[in-house]
Symmetry: C2
Subunit: 293 residues, 2 copies
């Protein structure tokens, strides 16, 4: 518990559609690119890995593309669960890619990954290059996730699958309730929207994927519920993932005029009661799998 | 599908703590006692039975008390899954009990149930009369669910279990989003609160049960997610359970001054878009099991 400091439930960097990679690495990603953030992402991925990766199984030899791999938090889990795949991991941030490479080298020495730095809307792979795409906490940061999915579908062979995982902050509710706590969650949603993203995208995966031309779209909720009977989850998810993620946008929220610093702190304090022994916290992720016709 | 008209996700009648049974049958239960409502309750219970009853298994010979059995919607599923139990079913409404008896006689002829009409706060059974209690969609209608649980715990032998199932309307979110749709959901929550209940009680089961002196309290989310890939669930849950439940309080909401009729209808129309081919709907029930020390 003491080493667990994941912070964000909504975590993969991707720039707006037309941003150049170099510029994008410093803009448009609400959670930032600091080493602390990178560690948080890795530890959050560990906490949630069982929940989110369950059911993702690719045959050995499959050509898999992880889109928006960021610092490699999910990459490690993908490789662990699917040791025989031919993995390409792409991200728009060269810095994130370097960290991802280090993470994989450290945790899975000998793992063979092709790393690619580039914008997911214009990846230079030939049509049908991959059997499977894996896209986790990416779409929420994009101005036009429908266009992104259409561009990505081109990379998939007919019959290949895409797996998409996203959160939805509208699924966050807690005990005790509190208007100030709800407001700070709403501020986070608003800031992400102002940046061109959508922190409520989980509920939209089905229409997004069908609209992008995928078929057999199967979306399932992956619900996290934490209460006093599950202290590790309270610590790892409620406190160190969700509350910390909200806390991290304090400066931005104040700067944007959404809140005073005092009101924000009251909201976070109220939210933190959900992590006390009598508190409870609920959050639903959505995992979608769909087929390229 | 055409015969499926369940309406309410929050469904068991119980009066406020001190109401006499006869009076209680016509007051305090937001969903009403009509035959149409009774049919809806039964059909909703069928739709959700697999989700809600999974894991509830009592050894043959167990003395089980269903508290607030209402029209017997859950009773049938309890008996089907646990044919050897010695079931007592209690409800404050003699009329509901009569319907429950008819339902069980029709669907499970020969099933042996003891029926008891009385207020759950003052059931006349000796201490420790039961091995297991089953309480589904009841606490949400009570002014003091903590007191109710404490009163019920007395009926349980040491080591016996209580199972509690409740919804939480704060878990309802949908695509497309809409402020008018959210408002009608909020009206339903408000009306239930004004009546002394709590439509957001699911998130509180853990502190309620621990506070009432139970131990080994284990609460789990049971999430319903419906989209265009699951037309039966869209019809049975989104449209005929949740939207219909909201629609049913239109008169009350208008009478209470929460909404104009027109605004309410706009909200319901907006909510109904969640049941269209590109819509999605999310709802989480909570199921708790706890032990009497």
């Amino acid at each position: 518990m003491t080493t667990s400091t994941p912070q964000s439930a909504a975590l993969r960097p991707e720039p707006a559609a037309d941003a150049a990679p170099a510029a994008a690495a410093d803009t448009g990603y609400v959670h930032g690119y600091s080493p602390t953030e990178a560690r948080r992402l890795g530890e959050q991925a560990d906490t949630l890995a069982a929940l989110l990766h369950a059911g993702t199984s690719y045959p050995a030899g499959s050509r898999v593309l992880e889109v928006g791999c960021g610092v490699g938090a999910q990459t490690v889990h993908l490789l662990t669960a699917n040791p025989g795949v031919l993995l390409t991991a792409a991200d728009v941030s060269a810095d994130s890619l370097a960290r991802a490479r280090d993470r994989v080298a450290e945790q899975l020495p000998g793992a063979d990954v092709r790393w690619h730095c580039g914008d997911l809307h214009r990846l230079p792979f030939p049509d049908g290059s991959f059997d499977h795409l894996f896209v986790c906490f990416v779409l929420e940061h994009l101005a036009d996730p429908a266009a992104a999915l259409a561009a990505l579908r081109r990379l998939l062979r007919p019959g290949g699958t895409v797996t998409v995982i996203e959160g939805d902050h509208g699924s966050a509710f807690f005990h005790p309730r509190g208007a100030a706590a709800q407001r700070v969650v709403d501020h986070l949603v608003r800031l992400q929207a102002d940046g061109g993203g959508d922190a409520l995208i989980g509920r939209r995966l089905y229409p997004l994927l069908t609209g992008a031309g995928f078929r057999d779209v199967a979306v399932g909720p992956r619900t996290v519920y934490a209460d006093g009977a599950r202290p590790a989850l309270v610590e790892g998810f409620t406190r160190r993932t969700f509350v910390a993620m909200v806390e991290a946008v304090r400066g931005e929220a104040v700067e944007a005029g959404l809140s005073t610093a005092e009101a924000f702190d009251r909201g976070v304090a109220e939210l933190r009661r959900a992590a006390e022994p009598n508190g409870t916290f609920h959050y639903t992720f959505f995992k979608a799998v769909a087929v390229n016709p």
